[in-house]
């Protein structure tokens, strides 16, 4: 009987996630593993991307070492089970926050990226708006909100379409590129990367319109509020740092010569705000030093200087026309 009890002991839920991560010595982070700019291994096998940076920021805040993360690629079908079963500590995988997922599967502490569903089409088709895709064949990756958005959007406008769905993005892109479909629809953020993977990226265009709201949020298990707070505030720290003008490049200098109380609080020179999260007072300083602020991460992974060239758009700070707004650290 002893061995049976051992077999079914549930270490995943025996203690809080943060204590578990600290005891283990590294964070386990679920990523998509195949979306350029969000999470993809580079030529040296190093994980790169916005979603990857978010987990590195968490590791930096907890361990003062952004390398203490193990990344596990998750398919869109397996991701929720992986989180629920305790296989991963946090799901940082361009996952859309919806009510049903929030209530059924997990918690979404904070929106890290504002996206919308778009369309990749051949320039030769001369399509300028989604409405012109009436009666077209559209390739999709299955098992995502994409399927629902598309059905709703076409139906409410009295338009029709043919759908072909595939299990992963490689198959979907392959089918689109080989002429099986007229358009490839998924989140716009992914389409920029998908277009780069085609043989002739300049022959394809991403339509301006978005037919849905896709707020990407990291996912955590339900019932662990301290961990949920830590995940939310990791993102807010990156936003607040950008707003306060603290970047990876100037963080050391700012720390030496900080005058404004805002900056002092973010960098842990005043107050002991990190302790409420179960961290050290310099937690946000660690994040900016190792990973950078939100703008640093955006520009490095998907911004104008990268092949993806995703415009900042809705992801600009709130005082620059975007939606990214961090509550004050105080």
């Amino acid at each position: 009987m002893g061995c049976v009890v051992l077999l079914f002991a549930t270490p995943a839920f025996a203690q809080a996630t943060l204590a578990q991560v600290k005891a283990r010595g590294h964070l386990v982070c679920g990523v998509s593993g195949g979306v350029a700019g969000f999470s993809i291994p580079d030529s040296q096998g190093q994980w790169r991307g916005l979603d990857v940076d978010f987990c590195r920021a968490l590791a930096a805040a907890i361990f003062d070492d952004p390398a203490k993360v193990r990344f596990i690629p998750q398919s869109s079908a397996a991701r929720f089970t992986a989180l629920q079963s305790g296989e991963i500590d946090v799901l940082s995988r361009n996952t859309t926050w919806t009510l049903s997922r929030d209530t059924a599967a997990m918690n979404f502490p904070v929106i890290t990226f504002y996206d919308g569903q778009g369309f990749l089409v051949r320039k030769a088709l001369n399509v300028a708006s989604v409405k012109q895709l009436d009666r077209a064949t559209i390739c999709l990756q299955q098992g995502t909100t994409t399927e629902l958005n598309l059905a709703d959007w076409f139906r409410t406008r009295g338009l029709t379409y043919q759908v072909v769905t595939f299990a992963n993005s490689e198959q979907t892109l392959g089918a689109y590129e080989s002429g099986r479909c007229d358009a490839y629809s998924t989140d716009k953020s992914s389409l920029y990367g998908e277009r780069l993977k085609t043989a002739h990226p300049d022959e394809h265009v991403i339509l301006d319109e978005a037919i849905s709201k896709e707020p990407f949020a990291p996912g955590v298990r339900q019932g662990d509020d301290p961990w949920r707070d830590l995940v939310a505030w990791t993102h807010y720290a990156m936003i607040d740092a950008e707003e306060a003008g603290i970047s990876q490049a100037n963080v050391e200098e700012m720390r030496r010569s900080a005058l404004s109380p805002d900056v002092k609080r973010i960098l842990g020179l005043e107050g002991k705000y990190g302790e409420g999260l179960g961290l050290t007072t310099d937690w946000a300083y660690r994040i900016v030093r190792h990973v950078g602020n939100y703008g640093d991460s955006f520009e490095r992974n998907v911004g104008a200087g990268t092949p993806l060239k995703i415009p900042r758009g809705l992801n600009a700070l709130w005082n620059q026309g975007g939606l990214q707004y961090g509550p004050p650290i105080r």
Binding site: F8, A104, T137, E147, Y161, Q162, T165, A167
Partner: protein, 388 residues
């Protein structure tokens, strides 16, 4: 001598009881653990999700289905019927190709024998997954592009987006045509019965194949023409070019075609080997005796060798049929909306009811396999040697 034997018997019983108990405890522990974890995660267990609205579209539907109104149960049925269609067609084609190739492997004709051997060795030793991708990617891309589909006499079109045939409309009075087809099948059954009775009672033989073919084709044909003469012609929906694709008509999706072709050619290679082994298991003298009686090679095969070979062929053939059904789940890799693709893919992801969805899917494959095995066992009983 009896004392120690009984002791061993008792020990064995005790050990087996312990083992069964241990397994029961293990299963109970796993089940309660899973239930606890799910409850902790706030997942509502149960099958209530099946009546919720599905909201997504499916490329191939054999039953009425609309994203706006259909439920997850409807989506499940669409996937199930797609699986059944691909598996049934795959089994029929694999059997036809397999028997042809298997017989050809024993042909006295060197070319036929060589080709059949090459087919078996090449197909049998390459993973099915790769073959499906070859059919779906390489063969499809060789077809005309969607912008310029090849027209087959203006009645049908073929392109990389599939084959579109004219679609007869069997609503209204036209349902008589499928009814006549069913009547033809029943009539063939009656002819076969007569033929069997004639053979068993030594009356003059009754021909089955030609009259059967005529019945199955002629009855619906007559119904079709009769309806036309009576002023209720069967309507045909002709395919036509739309702004993007060929529309109207009856589309045969390239995903479906690739899956059926891949499944049937792959399984046919195994069936060919089973058929060859079955034929070889029939004593040589049987064939020689048949030709000594003046039967042609075809007659000898059909009347003497194959009926005896079936005894050795049918049991392994059953497991190949089961493989076709199970392998059809590879459809998920080429975008064919079978049960696994629709239910374990989209529905599972949208509802998060992992335990229920996986359990239902496993139960369906189990039921399909058991049903196939049951039917094949019935058939096997008919072909086994009757001891007299």
């Amino acid at each position: 001598m009896t004392e120690p034997r009984r002791a061993i018997g008792l020990r064995a019983v005790a050990l087996q009881t312990l083992l069964v108990l241990a397994v029961a405890v293990l299963v109970y522990g796993a089940a309660t653990n899973a239930a606890q974890k799910l409850a902790k995660q706030g997942i509502v267990a149960g099958f209530g999700f099946l009546s919720r609205n599905a909201g997504f579209d499916i490329s191939q539907r054999l039953i009425p289905y609309a994203a706006a109104t259909s439920t997850y149960l409807d989506a499940f049925l669409v996937g199930l019927f797609n699986t059944l269609l691909a598996a049934a067609l795959g089994i029929v084609l694999a059997t036809l190709i397999g028997f042809a190739v298997g017989i050809a492997r024993l042909s006295p004709n060197l070319l036929a024998r060589g080709l059949a051997s090459a087919y078996v060795e090449a197909i049998r030793n390459v993973p099915l997954l790769l073959q499906l991708l070859v059919w779906y990617v390489a063969v499809r891309v060789a077809l005309p592009p969607a912008e310029a589909p090849a027209s087959l006499g203006g009645a049908a079109f073929v392109s990389q987006r599939g084959l579109v045939l004219p679609r007869p409309d069997f609503s209204g009075a036209a349902w008589l045509v499928p009814l006549a087809f069913l009547a033809g099948i029943v009539a063939v059954g009656m002819v076969r019965r007569r033929a069997r009775i004639a053979a068993e009672t030594g009356r003059p033989p009754v021909r089955v194949w030609l009259p059967g073919l005529v019945l199955v084709l002629l009855l619906p044909g007559l119904a079709w023409i009769g309806l036309g003469l009576a002023g209720h012609p069967v309507a045909l929906h002709w395919p036509a070019r739309g702004p993007y694709d060929v529309e109207g008509g009856l589309p045969i999706l390239p995903e479906f075609a690739a899956l059926v072709m891949g499944l049937s050619t792959y399984t046919a290679a195994f069936i060919a080997e089973i058929v060859r082994a079955g034929l070889s298991s029939v004593a040589r003298g049987q064939g020689e005796a048949a030709s000594a009686l003046g039967l042609s090679r075809g007659q000898a095969l059909r009347l003497v060798v194959i009926p005896q070979a079936l005894r050795a062929i049918v049991p392994p053939l059953t497991s190949q049929y089961l493989n076709v059904t199970k392998n059809s789940s590879l459809a998920v890799l080429i975008g064919y909306p079978d049960l696994v693709h629709v239910f374990m893919g989209t529905v599972l992801n949208q509802t998060n009811q992992a335990v229920e969805v996986v359990a239902i899917t496993m139960a369906v494959y189990l039921a399909l396999s058991l049903a196939t095995a049951f039917l094949m066992n019935l058939y096997n009983r008919r072909v086994t040697m009757v001891e007299r």
